[in-house]
């Protein structure tokens, strides 16, 4: 058995990946707070370290050293399991994402797309179980909202992914990035990006679709009973999800680790940096949306998913199929 290639390297890669992601998460919170502050005409964190750069460290220390409070009325095991269940899929999804030319994060499997879809489906469990086990009406409402929302938005999301799949002609994400596309393919793809982005917002429970945790109605929704590191895990899951989905979007829509027009395509080490730059731009989009678009009501959100997004996504898929059949 080839221990080196089957065990040691993947484990090393996983460790590196997790470290990078957790650091990325920490500094994403800083990035968001700084940016939001700019949108809000204020300064944001600026006390801990230069430009508040140590703020994430301070936050982490605070979260970790907080007293563990487990309310008496919760379903203890599920309650403790839920934050982990929320975090793990957010990390696992990274396994198939290509980060540089010919280099996937963990493995180049030929079911990359299916992996993303499957893990995205598991993600909602953490939230649902958290809400259910908390034994609190607000949490329960948050969990119900979350499950309904995720299921609703996974449908159009899946349809869009299938359309991309049709264009790419294969399940592997690595080959998706490597295969050159015709100009009309790019245009057709980008036309769908806004809708896809909306689905992603709903999928990651980000504002304006943060209905499961609307602090103005449900206090904190499914997180109401969580504190300290358990809350931090949910927080981590949400932010790592943001990074993950941004990476997926960068990969699917913007050529992943490649520079436009095949520039410097031989420099392999540039790949991760190019990808990171694209991800940071996409994250900016997340935060920009949060600062400027209001939150719909829950029923309006569902109406939008079922009455607009789903028909549009099905229509898009059909047209894509026709395009692929006739032009490709």
């Amino acid at each position: 058995m080839d221990w080196l290639n089957l065990v040691v390297f993947p484990v090393l890669r996983s460790v590196v990946l997790i470290v990078v992601l957790l650091t990325g998460f920490a500094y994403l919170t800083w990035y968001e707070r700084k940016l939001l502050a700019r949108f809000h005409a204020r300064y944001g964190p600026n006390r801990a370290g230069t430009f508040g750069l140590l703020q994430p460290v301070a936050d982490a220390v605070k979260a970790v050293f907080k007293e563990e409070v487990i309310p008496r009325h919760v379903d203890r095991w599920v309650y403790l399991l839920a934050p982990m269940l929320a975090l793990v899929p957010a990390l696992v999804i990274w396994a198939v994402i290509p980060v540089a030319k010919g280099v996937p994060a963990i493995a180049d499997v030929n079911i990359g797309f299916l992996w993303i879809l499957a893990i995205a489906g598991v993600e909602s469990y953490g939230v649902i179980l958290a809400g259910w086990s908390s034994n609190n009406n607000y949490s329960l409402l948050g969990a119900l909202r979350s499950s309904a929302q995720m299921i609703s938005y996974e449908l159009p999301l899946g349809m869009f992914l299938v359309s991309i799949l049709l264009l790419a002609g294969g399940f592997s994400l690595v080959s998706l990035v490597e295969t050159p596309r015709a100009w009309w393919e790019w245009v057709w793809l980008w036309a769908m990006f806004p809708l896809f982005f909306i689905c992603i917002l709903a999928e990651t429970n980000r504002s304006p679709f943060d209905l499961p945790e609307t602090e103005n109605e449900l206090v904190a929704g499914f997180q109401t009973e969580y504190g300290g590191i358990k809350f931090a895990l949910f927080f981590m899951a949400e932010y790592i999800n943001m990074i993950t989905t941004s990476t997926i979007m960068a990969t699917l829509f913007f050529g992943g680790y490649r520079l436009p027009f095949g520039l410097l395509s031989d420099v392999v080490w540039l790949g991760p940096f190019v990808l990171a730059a694209k991800v940071i731009l996409l994250l900016f989009l997340f935060i920009w949306v949060r600062a400027s678009i209001g939150r719909p009501r829950y029923d309006q959100l569902m109406h939008f998913a079922w009455k607009f997004l789903l028909p549009v996504s099905i229509g898009y898929m059909i047209v894509t199929a026709l395009l692929v059949v006739f032009f490709k």
């Binding site: 939001l36 809000h40 204020r42 009406n137 103005n216 206090v219 400027s292 209001g294 719909p296």
Partner: protein, 611 residues
């Protein structure tokens, strides 16, 4: 050991019950008006007294015919008093009344929006220890909550009341605090400076045995559905409001507000403070618009005093009142946007940024930013500082541009419209019947603004539009408030143009302090100063209800004076309290999220709701 006993302020004694020189209190009305004549013609003997007092129409009616009278004034097309805006009561225990006179009188404030008339109906209660009086709650929904308040604080039973529960105090509270035989309170505080004393032995170790009482479900709620408890610590109830919400799925079946978490007995306190000392307390009621609270209270007292206010003081007051309205509306806008859509965070910051500039101006004139107490009986505290006018002009120049910005963010944003349009709908008949005021009224098509229709403090000299929308939903109320801010800017601009020189405070030395310099040269000034500081000023016996258009609606002060320097009865009609009554009707059948929208749209401040 130093032992300091708690000290309570001694007030001058009230007039003796047996002193024949003291007339009936509160004084009976004299003369007549068209309306009172019509009422007397119809009810004859059963009207105990009717006429004018301090320029207000007052009718005293026997309690057994109160309901009939209320129905008559409501339905008679020539009277058409459509709304009860306030209900309060007077406990006359310490007033010189005869042995047969009723101890309690219930006072109803009625309003005719069409005829721009105000009518006070006073009904003595039957029975002195367990007083009863018929309830107007079935005729005017606007009387339901004020009557519950009277029931709670005065212990008057309203027969036929649709919902006779206490409203502010806990159900188990042993007394009715506003009765005159209930002491002011104030427990003896053990106070010592020696750490060895036994009082300190348990310091920090006290365990308060509190019995856990399962909360009673409000009447009409079904335990089969999900009952959730919004508040008292909830991010969007704007304070310590508790709403018991019955949900079916996410649809609201029933809402029952539970008030009183912030009840601090302002009225009782006011009845134990001299007139001039209560100004500072008014700040704490609607703490987002303390200028307007000062203004309303001061005007009521000045009406009792019959005081003339110098022109300059009047204009300064108008400027302050309108600035406060803008500040309050800005804060409403920011929190409303935050509640409705999480994104309002940006708007919250933008609007508070401008509000901050207004607070800076307040700080210039009086040194405080929130609890201002700038408007005093007789005028204002100090004259405007030199830089004020220019700073204000700078602010006025930019404010409309900022309003445009906010409107660009919200007014035509589809998500904002979707969240607000058709939500919390109230018809014209509803708002009048429920006694709602302010933007709630104007958002439902009632063209009424006290500044224009019952001008006070010189508002008749200004030219401004009263925005009225007929839709009656949250969006209409939003538009009303946005337009009101622009109109306030117009009023301030006019006021600045017409700001005269002269006194900023009346020179009537019986009411206002002499300037410091005068004390050095004038014995008389010293005496006035001494009298004012130690005793305050005496206010002629009388009864007055004075209402102003505060930023949240009609802010009324009902003051009964017995001729001393301390108000005998002081009642505050807070717009937030009466407007909040509408929350159940607005939210029923809507989604959970819409409750939050509705609370924001009513624009409450709990300090004023609970008082």
């Amino acid at each position: 050991m130093l032992n300091v006993a708690p000290r309570f302020r001694e007030y001058e004694t009230l007039p003796s019950l047996n002193d024949p020189s003291i007339p009936a209190l509160p004084p009976l009305p004299t003369g007549e008006s068209e309306d009172t004549r019509r009422i007397v013609e119809r009810f004859g003997e059963d009207i105990l007294a009717a006429g004018l007092h301090n320029g207000q129409q007052i009718v005293y009616v026997k309690p057994e015919r109160l309901l009939e009278l209320a129905a008559f004034v409501k339905d008679d097309p020539k009277l058409a008093y459509e709304a009860v805006v306030d209900v309060s009561a007077i406990d006359r225990l310490k007033l010189p009344i005869g042995a047969d006179d009723a101890r309690f009188q219930v006072v109803h404030q009625l309003r005719s929006y069409a005829r721009k008339q105000h009518l006070m109906i006073v009904a003595p209660c039957v029975g002195n220890e367990t007083p009863t009086v018929p309830s107007l709650g079935n005729l005017f929904a606007g009387a339901i909550w004020p009557e519950r308040e009277v029931l709670d604080l005065m212990g008057i039973t309203f027969t036929g009341h649709p919902d006779p529960r206490r409203i502010l105090m806990p159900d188990s509270w042993p007394n009715h605090p506003l009765r005159k035989d209930v002491p002011l309170g104030g427990e003896e505080v053990p106070f010592t400076l020696t750490w060895g004393d036994p009082e300190f032995a348990t310091l920090g170790k006290q365990i308060l045995p509190a019995e856990s009482v399962p909360p009673k479900l409000p009447p009409g709620m079904n335990r089969e559905n999900m009952i959730i408890n919004m508040g008292p610590h909830h991010p969007s109830t704007h304070g310590v409001l508790r709403l018991v919400v019955e949900l079916e799925g996410e649809t609201v079946v029933n809402v029952d507000p539970d008030l009183g978490y912030l009840h601090s007995g302002f009225e009782k306190t006011g009845e134990n403070k001299r007139y001039k000392d209560f100004v500072y307390y008014t700040d704490r009621m609607d703490y987002l618009s303390s200028m307007n609270n000062n203004f309303g209270y001061v005007l009521a007292v000045e009406k009792l005093l019959g005081l003339e206010i110098p022109e300059r003081a009047q204009v300064i007051r108008v400027i302050m009142s309108e600035l406060q309205r803008i500040a309050s509306h800005l804060f409403w806008l920011s929190t409303h946007a935050l509640d409705v859509s999480g994104t309002g965070m940006s708007l919250l910051m933008y609007a508070t940024r401008e509000r901050e500039r207004i607070l800076d101006l307040f700080e210039m004139v009086c040194g405080a930013r929130l609890t201002l107490s700038y408007i005093r009986v007789g005028g204002v505290w100090r004259d405007l500082p030199e830089a004020f006018i220019n700073n204000l002009r700078d602010l006025l120049a930019v404010l409309p541009r900022y309003f445009d910005d906010y409107e660009a963010m919200l007014t035509h944003a589809p998500l904002w419209q979707e969240r607000l349009e058709g939500i919390g709908k109230l018809s014209r008949a509803d708002v009048i019947n429920m006694g709602l005021t302010g933007p709630m009224l104007r958002g439902s098509g009632v063209d009424w603004d006290l500044r224009r229709d019952a001008p006070y403090g010189g508002y008749e000299n200004y030219d401004f539009k009263v925005p009225v929308y007929t839709e009656g939903d949250c969006y209409a109320r939003y538009l009303v408030r946005m337009e009101e801010m622009r109109q306030s800017v117009r009023i301030i601009e006019q006021a600045l143009r017409n700001l005269p020189d002269g006194l900023f405070r009346t020179d009537d030395r019986k009411v206002s302090l002499p300037p410091r310099a005068e004390l050095d040269v004038s014995m008389e000034a010293l005496i006035h100063h001494f009298k004012l500081m130690t005793e305050g000023f005496r206010v002629p016996a009388g009864m007055v209800y004075h209402a102003i258009e505060a930023s949240k609606g009609e802010l009324g002060f009902f003051v009964v004076s017995d001729g001393s320097a301390v108000p005998y009865r002081l009642h505050v009609r807070g717009p937030s309290f009466n407007n909040l009554y509408a929350i159940s009707k607005m939210s029923r059948g809507e989604m959970l999220s819409d409750i939050v929208t509705n609370i924001g749209s009513i624009d409450i401040v709990l300090g004023e709701v609970d008082r």
